[in-house]
Amino acid sequence: MPALRPRGLAPAPVMHPLIQQLTSHGPVITDGAWGTELQARGLGLGEFPDIWNLTRPDRVGEVAQAYVSAGSQVILTNTFGANRIRLGEQGAAERATEINAQGVEISLKAAAGRARVFASIGPTGKLLMNGDVTEDELRAAFSEQARALAAAHADALVVETMSDLEEAKLAVSAARETGLPVVACMVFDSGKDKDRTMMGTTPEQAARALTEAGADVIGANCGQGIAGFVGICKRLRAATDRPVWIKANAGLPTMVDGRPKYTTTPEEFAGYIPALLEAGASFIGGCCGTRPEFIAAIRRALHRGKTE
């Protein structure tokens, strides 16, 4: 039973032991995109990926396994949309706990001790500002999800792809209640310099607010190709004392034969690793459009930089 972090107190000044352990050996390789990998294994266009934890766990496990084999030291889970609000749109709200638990189990099995499992918590798709949803509803949905992920023995929780700082804070707060380390990352893809979230939040504002909310790791994922992440990483690094987590897209897609295709190659992607390291990234991985080959390329790039 993980030691419960006291609620309502200032963020812990000492780094969480797991995060300390992982980052002490240098940059940590996380994983890449899951949606496109599941599609390659038969997930239909527009089909909700998280449901496959129940209906096609073997294929979900293959994706997890592929990332572990490619060199991911941390893999996530197929639970990005598994909060009861989004599941409700699929008529599966009551299966939230089950889907989350299965997601963690599948990833743990694939990791088999070779990688850590950081469970994914994504946004609900509802805007607080518009009154689409209340704070209480968000809190309840994130708490339910976080509890299920923690009970299934995830090593940590990743609140990711957030655009709304208020929603992100609620998710972090719910995640912290489990006592697990919490990664909090947002999408910076708006504004003329593509350095704000859709709601106008800057990296500085995000880093400060999420650190204050108690996140153990602060980061950015999705939204734009890897080039833009170097600048975002620098700004996050400067605005927090927590390690920084970067998961970049392989650019934006073009359509080839009716299917979306990402044009950044693994080598091009990995070419940005030195810049990202210098910008202060501690956790590096990929988001939309990346595949196990990208993780392998990242691993090669990191080993090239190491003096043996």
Partner: protein
Amino acid sequence: MADLKKLYDSVVSGDAKATQALTREALAEGVDPLKLVNEHMVPAMDEVGRRFEANEYFVPELLISARAMKAALELIRPLLIARGDKPVGRVAIGTVKGDLHDIGKNLVASLLEGGGFEVIDLGVNVSPEKFIETVNSKQANIVAMSALLTTTMPSMKTTIDALKQAGVRDKVKVLIGGAPITQKYADEIGADGYSENAVGAVALAKKAVTAA
């Protein structure tokens, strides 16, 4: 005497209450409703759009200004309908089949209404058939499609092809948007326009109806 400059300001600052109160006052004094819209509120939304493009306003500011505009339009629309005024254009808008994301689509719909368009919001997970049916039954001259997922982008092509099949493709301008969408994609699938953000979408829609 209703202060129409204050009306402009209240839309720009997103003050729905003040916008409604000033609109009511102006209408009661007999100010032409269309003049209120075209000479005061639409320019206000244009200013909101300019601030957005200049990085001064973000989505939250767009939302509250659009809300203020809508509050005023609720008072004005019945008057315009009663005297048979036509909207600037009619837009059938929706998130495509397989996709349930609606924040972007809702924002565009709000801003289009603010821009004087009649908006038929078809919601999410909208089939090509539904778009076609709306074009025919409501005489929509713009079809606006949103997708947030790369996995649902192809539904945009399917819808455009279906519009062709149904013989109505040249009756409408097709505008698309969404996080993974690009100009290149729009060109590839034969859309008439793409915008990176909601403000650009309104500008495109206005161009589309004047070019027609």
